[in-house]
Symmetry: C2
Subunit: 158 residues, 2 copies
Amino acid sequence: MESLWLEDLNVGDRFRTEEYEITREEILAFAGQYDPQPFHLDETAATDTFFQGLAASGWHTAAITMRLIVTSGLPFATGIIGAGVELTWPTPTRPGDIVHAEITVTEIKVSRSQPDRGFITVAYDTLTRSGQVRQRTTATLLMFTRTSPTGPAEVPQR
Amino acid sequence: MESLWLEDLNVGDRFRTEEYEITREEILAFAGQYDPQPFHLDETAATDTFFQGLAASGWHTAAITMRLIVTSGLPFATGIIGAGVELTWPTPTRPGDIVHAEITVTEIKVSRSQPDRGFITVAYDTLTRSGQVRQRTTATLLMFTRTSPTGPAEVPQR
């Protein structure tokens, strides 16, 4: 894919990532390191919890979604630089889920003080093949124009 | 720590986690798997980017923060079950950072339809020893009362 800069984007632009299969082994490994709770670590222990079975950490779903966006979602020339994010996990991510993300550009704001950069807002859902929403995200990303100096950059005031 | 239930919490309650040292090796490993961008993977490549040096993926900071909260932050009887979250990354997380989280309960809402459960809102900062804020988070968590049935549970309407 061709690399995109701030001036290449329009509100309403849509992107779709490839797919990622989430294995039981990866769920256990991530949870063991970053979210060691019974419902993320052990099928039997998970049965009697709110999740009614093994579920991935929400942060694991978020990390996988980021991988999809970086590797096959948004071909931005200067990378995916998140300033802030809002997310919900409407349904638990399960072993064997095959997910992808669908992304829409919802807002573009060029900085007044530094017109070589700006913030875009993207909304994206992490979906299973049957359309269940595992994560719903709104993210504010920092982007640059082609004419931006290549040197160190300051975050503009919004 | 004693396990806490919904009725044990009050707005204004504060918690503080232990510390976690983030190594260069862990930054590279996480980024390789979930956020493979130059500024998270290679010092030299990172120098000429917005980050001006190697920085951890924001999702890595989020995952480490979750580990701290689960293992030493919030001793909730039924675990840390996130419904939704808002977060910003005011400064990049760097190799060698030693971080902890400081948590405040800011809102408690018992469900009207299912009074054995409710949502609490917690605000927490992920801080370095010198007080730099690496992540600022507001999370909505699902909690239960001592009298909640132990069986499978439905998410209440907010």
